[in-house]
Amino acid sequence: MTVDPSRTDDLAVVGTRRPKIDAMARLTGEARYADDLSMPGMLVGRQLRSIHAHARIRSVDTSRAEALPGVVAVITGRDVPIAYGVLPVSQDENALAVDRVRYVGEPVAAVAAVDEETAEQALRLVSVDYEPLPAVLSIEDALDPSGVLIHGEGQGANVHKAVALEFGDVDAGFAAADLVREDVFSFAGNTHAPLEQPATLAALGGDGRLTVWSATQAPHYLHRALARVLELPSSRIRVVAPPVGGGFGAKTDILPHEVAAAKLAMVTGRPVKITLTREEVFHSHRGRHPVQMWVRTGFTSDGRITAMHFRSLLDGGAYGSFGVASTYYTGALQTTTYRIPAYRFEGLRVFTTKPPCGPKRGHGTPQPRFAVERHLDRAAEELGLDPVELRLRNAVEPFSRTVNHLRITSCGMRACIEEVVSASGYHGKKGHLPRGRGVGFAVSAYLSGAGLPIYWNDMPQSEVHIKVDRGGGVTVFSGATDIGQGSTSTLATIVAEILGLQPEDLAMVTADTDLTPVDLGSYSSRVTFMAGNAAIDAASKLARLVAEGAAQRLGVPPEELVFRGGQVAVRGDPRKSLSWAQAVRAASARGALMTSGVYWAPEMAGPYRGSGVGISPAYSYSAAVVEVATDPETGEVSVEEVWIAHDIGRAINPVLVQGQVEGSVYMAVGEALMEEQSFRRQGVHRGPSLLDYKLPTTLETPKIHTILIEEPDPEGPFGAKEAGQGPLLPVIPAVAAAVEDALGVVVHEVPITPDRLLRALRAGHRGKAPVIGPASVPSFEFGEPERVQPPVGSPAEVAVP
């Protein structure tokens, strides 16, 4: 038998357009999300949340709440005193605040009651004695040496993480430059707003084991955190992720309500469900960091980059979350699109008394991508070069090493650029459309899975099991969570391709720590690549077992067999064949039909601290052209049309890839024009509702032309790379560039609200620079960078003179 996942022709199901295998279940309401689950005797859990941005908790009196009929339990920070955090370096959060609250909306107590109204009433009967402390709401406040310390530890002031790295000789690079340019940028924080509000149901079984059904993107990490906080062996806990209604990163961290529901179930001995209200989702957050950025780049007169110095300052909110990784990500991927021979990165994350920031689609990279793309547009103007040409002159080469030790494999960036520029008619439009209309262009790259797990270990990043019953039924077991992106369908398609079956033929069991092997989770765009490769491994092993049985029956060597259309047939002689069921029967006579597949990412990390962030077995590339219509009088901007090319390697299912691309464009339009987590002076969210927190609706969604570039990646499953996050990245800077083209303003900040746009236009009328953006970034002394020798073959070796 032969299975060659790198083959690019003759595919039966991979590459065909088909609906998700669970599409009907999701559309008809048959799919049971976490909040749809219900159990006999189930209690409703609710959390009491802080009304202060920053306060010491003197005491919490729960006696009146406990006395209320219908209340079964009330817990506080004392009941869950063990701190946790998704990253081993940031174990700084408690499910319920212990002695201090650090943001408005931080959980302080949780109740379990017979119904929602009683639970709500009980919350009002819990009295908390707070001693208010000053709120810290900006990076400047956080760094003020006379200000208050939020955690009372760290690297001084409220610094959570400070990093300074230098790859190659940056000073020499600047000295060799004909042009050195500096710009500053600001990117507002925004939130994920998944349609499904997070929910968790927890229940103790008769055997004393705890089961937690939770709307999570990463059951494995939740499993680990629960074991730690609840002081139970992992073997006594089962975590199940039901179908999840959108994540975008919101459900990757361990959220306080997940711990609270589990603890309440243990305390009461009854099932407890907590579903967050929409308002609570804004407090739970873990969304996009607000980032201030400064970038300095040297260019030769013909536009080649000689060196780059990039500085980012992240407003992290109250807790660590993924923040250390977020900080590194703001500096890691600049080199994946452009040949940068010398690079210095300085990154800072501070604590503030606001809801914690974390990963949102593109995790830490949309902000620097916005800055770098806009910065290159500025440089192109100054050099008198076309912005597209400037990108092409600096484009990274396929199968190369970057100066910061990232391994580039397949790279379809040039093809992406050529396709969108041609399809959109960019060059005929830029500078030529009537006033008020404009076009903008940008490129980007993103990971196909983080190269390392979140906690150090040398186990596989993904495992897949496949079991076949004697009638031929195939069940695939994977820890990956389908969060709506279609990962279950993708895995089914991969397995079906190898076994010659249809995806709909397979039974899929996912995201259940009792039943499925570990997959690290649906984050960092890793599932198609990593779980997909593990699925290929498992399916190939299974095909081998089946082939051996069938070969014996057919009297040919197993290598002669092919799996196609539900048949196992002799190559070149389709009359000599067995049906899949007959082949399975023959193989079952030789032993159990159960296989395991694994995926390990290759070892890629460079020789420096922080080198684990940014590495990936493959990068996807995107390019976008955006056309906008603006109203110079009201400041309104309408994104009319988007052309986006995405280097997917291979589309396992083009419908799902297109869905991810379109969803990314939609989200990018919101971030570019309207979305912002904004807070009043005392740290109160300005509009924690979908009414006041503006997301685009279908009416604001532009016409989207998706172009898929398919140059198979040598390590990707059937050549596939990621699609879930990368396509968001180029759209935000391209919208800004289009607004500039339309109105002649300078856009160095998002969102581009009507108010901000009008202010810039008014400044222009008064003869001042029409700029949307900051004048400077907060100052911080990073100290001497850690100097890292660039790898062999990096652009440092071919540095321009």
Partner: protein, 293 residues
């Protein structure tokens, strides 16, 4: 457990009796405002008076130059059935919420809530509508510009219910427009309705989301009426001078009493109203001139 009395009269007389007997019960039609408030815990009514079964409220009819729209007519019905008679009201209704909201929400409910951001209100002001209210004893009409007495407060007595609205049929061009980063499923940043009444020589305006109540720009109306009459412009249909349009826009902007909030700044609202006023007058006057040809 909170106890709420639920009253569901089957006819208009029953509804009025129920209202008189339960003055604390909150009237509810489509529920798109009241039930949201209840669900958010901001409203704890001791009773709900559901008007959804009162058939009399669901009808509309023409009478001389006016249309009487029952309080229970939905936004969707305004859009599909009344866009010829009441074009600006139909346009405003189209911008309310989403299709499910428009299928449930009613004109009477919009007036009952009396939000300064209610989408129908500027049109009712611009058209010179009258709100018909009734108690079990007596029925009366209240001019739209006397109906809104404060933020989310109206002129309804404790024993009264809104039965309908009398709106003059359009005799000239009308417009309704609003601004914002998003214009579906939002509370408008600000909005403006304009109605030209060539038969009477009157100009009507209505401003939304830019004051404690929906407002008329009376000075702007008087200025434009005076100008049009003085120059015989209604008859000559000559183009309007830019200075006139600008002055009108300035007066509209000055009539507003906006604040800074999460949806927009005071300054932006004043500016946007000036823009909306200039554009609205441009569209309407253009339509008037075109229609005459």
């Amino acid at each position: 457990m909170v106890q709420t009395t639920f009253l569901q009269p089957a006819s208009w007389p029953e509804a009025l009796e129920a209202r008189a007997a339960n003055p604390d019960a909150v009237p509810v039609a489509g529920g798109t405002d009241v039930l949201v408030e209840v669900n958010f815990g901001r409203l704890h009514p001791s009773g709900l008076l559901d008007l959804g079964r009162v058939r009399e409220l669901r009808t509309w009819g023409r009478e001389k130059g006016r249309v009487r729209v029952g309080a229970g007519v939905t936004y969707s019905e305004l859009i599909t059935q009344l866009r010829g008679d009441l074009p600006a009201l139909a346009t405003a209704a189209r911008t309310v919420g989403s299709p499910p909201i428009r299928n449930r929400g009613t004109l009477g409910g919009n007036l009952g809530t009396a939000s300064p951001a209610g989408d129908c209100h500027p049109v009712l002001l611009a058209c010179g509508a009258e709100v018909e209210v009734a108690s079990s004893r007596v029925s009366r009409t209240v001019p739209a510009d006397e109906f809104f007495v404060g933020p989310k407060r109206n002129a309804l007595g404790a024993d009264e219910l809104i039965s309908g609205v009398w709106i003059p049929r359009a005799t000239g061009p009308q417009s309704f427009s609003k601004v914002g980063t998003r214009n579906a499923m939002v509370i408008a940043v600000c909005s403006l309705a304009l109605a030209l009444h060539p038969d009477s020589g009157r100009v009507g305006t209505g401003i939304g989301s830019a004051g404690p109540v929906p407002l008329r720009a009376r000075e702007a109306e008087a200025f434009l009426e005076g100008h049009l009459a003085e120059r015989g412009a209604w008859e000559s249909k000559r183009p309007l001078e830019e200075a006139v349009v600008d002055r009108f826009a300035e007066l509209v902007s000055q009539a507003a009493a906006p604040i800074d909030d999460v949806r927009g700044s005071l300054r932006y609202r004043r500016h946007a109203l000036r823009v909306l006023a200039r554009r609205s007058l441009g569209w309407c006057w253009n339509d008037y001139r075109e229609a005459a040809r």
